[in-house]
Symmetry: C2
Subunit: 90 residues, 2 copies
Amino acid sequence: MAKRLLSKSFGEVVRARRSELELTQELLAERAGVHPTYIGMVERGERNCSLDVASEIAEALDAPLSKLIEEAEARNRKSAGASTKKGRPS
Amino acid sequence: MAKRLLSKSFGEVVRARRSELELTQELLAERAGVHPTYIGMVERGERNCSLDVASEIAEALDAPLSKLIEEAEARNRKSAGASTKKGRPS
């Protein structure tokens, strides 16, 4: 079974949370100590970041990493449920 | 302030959970699709693994990654509390 990667959902959660806080990618990057390009890649699921970087990003989003991962897992489960009926989402 | 890295506590949580399940590093590695040496490095906090690898390890430990991260965060908070009084633990 093709499995949706957690990093993909994590990126979506980061983007959603950043929008909620009305932060730009630049400001989030500055807070987390990473390059703005990196944040864009994480949000698009193109970058499977390390636990320690993910933790810095979470802190910059004022959320525990465990909470963001929990949301990402929920998205993955939802996606897995959908793919049972309609195949793997693109 | 010197901050304890999440990857360090995550490694301790992985080791504790693996012992609880009475799994060897070899068996956990096989289940997670990584090299046994890699598991040893993660457990000792020498390896800051990616979200997707951490997720595979969590799955091999029959636990959601969010739960393992939550435990690691709790260990980090405890460690931060201790270091307020006694300096950074080695």
